[in-house]
């Protein structure tokens, strides 16, 4: 049955490679029972008036909590939005009540879905920048985090090549 073993080993190796590449640059913060996983934002074009920011919220406590807002010295303000793409049309709406995290639940703020939006960033975010910010939770209170600025989405494996060719 060695042919099956080889396939199993190949699949195992492939999954290890995928896992390690996504975990390579992870960073976490916590406030009470809330864990804030890998806050990140994408590189921004020159003069970009807004920029999306993303993270994962996990609630280890027995009660629900809500992300109600945030602030950063590097932007006029931070808003909470919901994005959706249906029938090839992108739509964005405010989430004025914030984002609730049920007890034991995990919520992804990710491209194409819920996100934080930096309004009027003070300068374009460059790859590798760390953007200091404070997030406000209804129960856990305020917590300081750093958004790391990266070229690709958090869960995509990094592309080692092809980073050139831009005129910043």
């Amino acid at each position: 049955m060695s042919c099956f073993n080889k396939v199993a080993i190949a699949l195992g190796l492939a999954s290890i490679t995928i896992l390690s590449s996504s975990a390579a640059s992870a960073h976490d913060f916590s406030a009470g029972d809330i864990r804030i996983g890998h806050p990140w934002s994408r590189i921004a074009p020159a003069a970009a008036p807004v920029m999306g920011a993303y993270l994962t919220l996990t609630n280890a406590g027995p009660e629900a909590d809500t992300l109600v807002g945030g602030s950063t010295p590097l932007a006029e303000r931070i808003e909470i939005h919901q994005m959706s793409i249906e029938g090839g049309v992108a739509r964005m709406r405010s989430l004025p009540d914030g984002i609730e995290i049920a007890p034991g639940a995990s919520v992804d703020l990710a491209p194409g879905g819920a996100h934080l939006m930096f309004i009027k960033p003070a300068r374009p975010f460059a790859e590798g920048d760390r953007i200091e910010a404070t997030l406000e939770f209804a129960r856990a209170g305020s917590v300081r985090v750093e958004f790391v600025v990266q070229r690709n989405a958090a869960k995509e494996p990094d592309r080692a090549d092809d980073h050139g060719g831009h005129t910043p």
Partner: protein, 201 residues
């Protein structure tokens, strides 16, 4: 005897796996074929006339005989628009001189906030061969109609607004006919193939 049986089982196993691959891949190509055939007849590529971020007038006639890519967006777009522009920049640098053989047009659906000055500064972050275009509200409306695209102004909290908009990158062939959509979620190699095919169209 046992070894022969084991060998047979392995061979049959390989045959079944290969048959599975063939079945899946033919189904995938069958799914893609009708989509392309039907998009070829869609009403995409009508007349439009707009002003570039460098202040030059550009219309569909000035593009005659030249393949081009066009997509709609705005600078107050947190994710899809800048990502599409960065991705196109990457694809164009990979295509090198082949990317000189088509135009790339980014049409703003928010000419109210996207002034020529803002667009000119925004576009310095991307491949210099990409052109941002803006127009009066009538001109923008005409451009949307030309590609059967959609955009709508929607109020946000606090007096601000955002734009709902079509996200696809339209491919227009040299003869002015519709050549399909470039989807930024499909594999990079597929996108490069589509662009190379467009150049040779």
């Amino acid at each position: 005897m046992n070894r022969v049986r084991l060998f047979r089982i392995c061979v049959w196993g390989v045959v079944i796996v290969l048959a599975g691959f063939l079945l899946v891949s033919t189904q995938l190509s069958e799914q893609q074929a009708p989509a392309e055939a039907s998009t070829g007849t869609a009403r995409v590529g009508g007349p439009f006339s707009l002003t570039s971020h460098e202040g030059e007038r550009l219309d569909n006639r000035s593009l005659a005989g030249r393949p081009y890519l066009v997509f709609f967006g705005f600078t107050h777009c947190p994710e899809i628009c800048p990502t599409t522009l960065f991705e196109l920049t990457d694809l164009m640098s990979e295509l090198g001189a082949d990317a000189d053989k088509f135009e790339v047009l980014f049409i703003t659906v928010d000419s109210e906030r996207d002034t020529q000055e803002l667009l000119a500064s925004y576009m310095t972050s991307f491949d210099s061969r990409i052109t941002a275009l803006r127009g009066s509200s009538e001109e923008t409306e005409t451009a949307l109609k030309a590609f059967s695209a959609y955009a709508k102004k929607v109020p946000l909290e606090g007096g601000q607004y955002t734009m709902d908009h079509t996200t696809g990158v339209y491919l227009i062939k040299g003869d002015g006919s519709f050549g399909g959509i470039l989807d930024m979620h499909e594999p990079r190699e597929t996108r490069l193939q589509k662009l190379r095919r467009l150049v040779s169209s």
